[in-house]
Structures are given as C-alpha cells and as structure tokens.
C-alpha cells in the first residue's frame, strides 16, 4: 500500500516536472532566426494552415499559442546572454545585447541635398573644375618648400612687408598700407557675407542645414531678433499666452501670416472638397431657419382683423337698426344675415 502510494507520489511529481518543462520547452521543425540586438525572432515554420482560415475564437487561440511559443524561445535565448548587474551590486540583472544585425528602414525621409552656391553654379556653367593644389610651394628666396599659406608661408610674412608700391594712376598721398589692410578686411567681409548667404539659401531651400550658425549673437538683424523672440515666446507649455509683455508690446497674438496679406484657398484646389464644404454650409444655414412661419402668422393676424372688422360692422348695423327700426325692418335682417354669412365664409376661404 505504501509502495503504491509512493509510486503514485513519484508519478505525480514527475507529471508536475514534465508539465513545467512542457511550458518552457517548445518544439519547432525549423529553428528560429534570432537578432537579439533588435529583440527580433523570425519564425520560418509554415503556420498550421487549417486553423488560420476564417475569423473566430479558434483562430485567435492558435495565433495566441504561436505567439507564446515564439516569445518563449526568444526569452530563453535572452536568458543565455551574458548578464550583469546594472547600477552597482544591488541593481537589477541586465543582459547585454549584441549589436543589431537586421537593418531597419529609415524613420524619417533622407535629408535633401543643399542647393549649389552662386560660385558652384557659375563653375558648372563654365565647366571650371577644381584643380588639386599642392600643400607646399617652392619658395625661391628661401630655397626650400614652404606652406602655401599660414605660418612661415612662401612669399614672406605679409605683416612684415615693409614696401608697398604706389600703383599707376593712384593718388600719391594715399596710404598704401592702409589701403592694403582695408582691402583685406573688405575681402574677408565679402567672403563671410557670401558664406552666410549660401547658408541662408540652403536653409530656405529646406535642407537639413540649421539656421543657428547664420549669425553669431551680437550681429543679428532686427527682423531675426524679432523672429527669434517670437519663437521663444511661443515655446512654452501654454504656447505663449501668459508670457509677460514689454510695456509697448501689442497684446494681440501674432497673425499666422506674419503681417503679410490674407491667404486664400488655391484657385484649382480640391473641387470635391469645396463642394462638400459648401453643402455643409447650406445644411448649417438651413437648420437655423426660424420655427415661426411668418406667412402663416401674418395670415392668421389678417383673418382676425377681418373678423373683428366684420363683427364691428354688424354691431353698427344692429345699432342703426334699433334706432331706425320702423323704416329698416325688412332690410335689417337681410343685412345681419348677410354679414354673418360673410363671416362664416371668410375663414374657410382665407
């Protein structure tokens, strides 16, 4: 008896063990492909064809079982990864994922190329190509290879040039050194201006080039400062509604067109859209019609007035009849009945 019971107990324990293992072991014909860097598991096994056709709870159950099995395999793989503790000794156990192997497609569209600068356009037009320049130039005077520009350049240090010839046709009183310095400054400024113009053009054309490096602080124009101030005002959680204003600043919100004239719908826009909008407008207009039908009210009022007028007429005639009873007795009844008949007829006709 005890032996049987022990066997039973052992069998039961084995059942339980098998049950547990069944829940964590999954059998598949084809092995799954794993990309643990992306937490991705690819199952290339053909699905059970019979159950998946048509909607229903059976299909749901099959799909759920499939998902559970695949997730089990993925999690088992994750557990095999080298683990460590994050955040020191007491932190959670964290698996270190390998590099992702599967290339995901772009989330956002690729950036647009910047538009060519004025020089690039001109060069393309003329067919000018870049000539690779050597970094060192032979300096005849120093008899050695010197840099093209910079420290110890070929041609000597321009700051130490002690002679500046007066060119032909120039004013003899003019300071040539000052002129050279001024021209250099102008060239530098022009170059900087063109560089910023190119940046601005690229930014306007919508490329990924940000507008931030356009002007260093201190050199911004009034419009740019205004624009930046507007953007800063609106960059709050309430979209700038409760920001304190300067004493002379206007209180109304800035127009969406930025002070430009009003914008209209495009001429040949979506005509079906326009039509549906107009029909909606008609429906809204129609629903607000007054409940009171003015015509009927007016007609009713007129009928009442006519009835009263007829009643008064009848009263006057009866009064006259009382006074001139003897002369008008035959006519009196006729007139009264005539008036009454008229009264009865009019409501039906009106």
């Amino acid at each position: 008896m005890a032996a049987v019971r022990v066997e039973e107990v052992l069998a039961a324990a084995e059942e339980q063990e098998a049950e547990k293992r069944r829940s964590i072991t999954v059998e598949k014909e084809l092995e799954l492909e794993f990309d643990l860097g992306n937490l991705l598991a690819l199952d290339r096994n053909p699905p059970p064809a019979a159950g998946l056709r048509g909607a229903g709870p059976r299909r749901e159950a099959l799909l759920r079982a499939l998902a559970r099995d695949n997730t089990q395999l993925l999690v088992a793989r994750l557990w095999e990864l080298p683990a460590e503790r994050a955040g020191g000794a007491g932190g959670p156990v964290v698996a270190r994922l390998p590099e992702p192997a599967f290339r995901l497609p772009r989330e956002k569209p690729p950036p647009r190329p910047r538009p060519p600068t004025r020089w690039e356009q001109f060069a393309r037009l003329k067919g000018i190509r870049r000539r690779k320049k050597t970094s060192l130039v032979w300096d005849e005077q120093a008899k050695e290879w010197r840099r093209r520009w910079g420290y110890r350049r070929a041609g000597g240090d321009p700051a130490r040039a002690w002679l500046a010839e007066v060119p032909e046709g120039a004013d003899p009183e003019e300071d040539q050194f000052a002129r050279l310095r001024r021209e250099k400054r102008e060239r530098v400024a022009r170059n900087e201006l063109n560089r910023l113009r190119n940046l601005a053009r690229a930014h306007r054309a919508g490329t990924a080039i940000p507008a931030a490096p356009l002007h260093p602080t201190g050199h911004q124009s009034r419009e740019e400062l205004g624009h930046v101030a507007r953007v800063a005002r609106v960059s709050t959680a309430s979209l700038g509604r409760f920001q304190p204003r300067l004493p002379k600043e206007s209180a109304e919100p800035p127009s969406r067109n930025g002070g430009r004239k009003r914008r209209f719908e495009p001429l040949l826009g979506n005509l079906a859209d326009e039509r549906s909008r107009q029909l909606q407008l008609l429906r809204d207009m129609g629903s607000k019609k007054p409940v009171l039908d003015i015509t009927r009210a007016v007609n009713k009022q007129l009928r009442q007035e006519e009835a009263e007028a007829a009643a008064n007429k009848g009263k006057k005639q009866s009064q006259r009849g009382k006074r001139g009873r003897r002369q008008q007795r035959p006519g009196r009844s006729g007139k009264k009945s005539g008036a009454r008949r008229q009264q009865q007829q009019r409501p039906a006709g009106g």
Partner: protein
C-alpha cells in the same frame, strides 16, 4: 481670380436662398459636372471646372468675365444679385409673380410692379420675400422683392407697389457697358 472665402460664400448663399430656397443644392451639386463659384474683381462667377481650368491660364488684368456672373460684392461687402443669374435661378424659383402684358414694358424699363399690373402671385408669399417675375407667357423677366404678402395683395389699392424691382432683362440693353 480666387475662390470665395467662408464669409463670402455665406453671403452669396443667403442671397440666393431668398429666391430659390434650398434648391441651391442643385446648383452646387450638379449631376452633369463640377460647377464652382469664383471671385474676380469683386464679381462672383459661376462656371464649370473645365472652363475654370481654361480661364486660369488668362492673365488677371486681361480677364474680363468668365462663365456666368451671378452678382457682385459692393464696397461694404454686401452681395447684389444681377440679372445675368436669371437663367440659373428661374427654373428653381420658389415664389413667382406673373405680370400682365400691359405693365411688362414698365417693369422692363426698371419700374416697380403695381397692383394693377399684377397677374398672378404664388400663394403663401411672405412680405419682402425674393420673387422671380414672369410674363404671362411664363418668360422670366427679372427679379424682385414682394412688397406685400399674398394676403395683403388682395386687399391693397391698384396703385400700390406689390413687387419692388431688383433686376430685369431690359438691363441687357440699358446697362450694356457695365454688365459683365
């Protein structure tokens, strides 16, 4: 040339509704093509999509008129219906007034319609309701506004005005230069 804004569309529809009521839907939503309203130099034109595409290629200062002119917006943005819309509104008119042959000419010269010239009038016409004026041969002559309701028309004396003149086909001759 541009489409009408919301406010302008509302003004136009309200004016049209005074004459044709809810039949405006039949103008907006036509089974035989897409028709639309466009604004050019304060005048509202009604034209088909095909014509619109062709008219879009004409320069703005060279464009005189397109499709059918329904009316114009005045300086204070009020919409005034013109007689050129008669062909589109006459079939859908809700309230009609027929004028006797004797006073047809008077109406076509721009005068109001008197009670003596009134032939027939639709029942249940309210006062100041927009009406379309016809001759006794059912030829549309123009627009008007009922000065008296149908009930009142019956009782009023013969020299009283029953329909105020708004537009008539005689304008095609009288204002030939300014009509677009």
């Amino acid at each position: 040339m541009r489409p009408l804004t919301e406010a302008e569309t509302r003004a136009v529809f309200e004016k049209l509704a005074r004459y044709i009521g809810e039949n405006i839907q039949l103008l907006v939503d036509r089974p035989d093509g897409t028709y639309c309203f466009r604004l050019h130099r304060d005048r509202v034109y009604y034209l088909s999509e095909k014509l619109l595409k062709v008219a879009a290629s004409v320069p703005r200062d060279g464009l005189v008129s397109l499709g059918t002119c329904f009316g114009k917006f005045t300086k204070t943005q009020k919409f005034r219906l013109s007689v050129t819309a008669l062909d589109f509104l006459a079939p859908y008119a809700k309230y009609k007034v027929w004028v006797k042959p004797g006073s047809e000419q008077s109406f076509l010269y721009g005068n109001h319609v008197l009670k003596s010239g009134l032939g027939r009038i639709t029942e249940n016409t309210a006062q100041y309701q927009g009406v379309v004026v016809y001759s006794m041969a059912d030829v549309p002559l123009g627009f008007g506004v009922a000065a008296k309701s149908t009930q009142e028309c019956r009782k009023v004396d013969p020299m009283a005005i029953v329909v105020f003149h708004q537009a008539d086909v005689g304008e095609y001759v009288r204002s030939e230069d300014t009509l677009t």
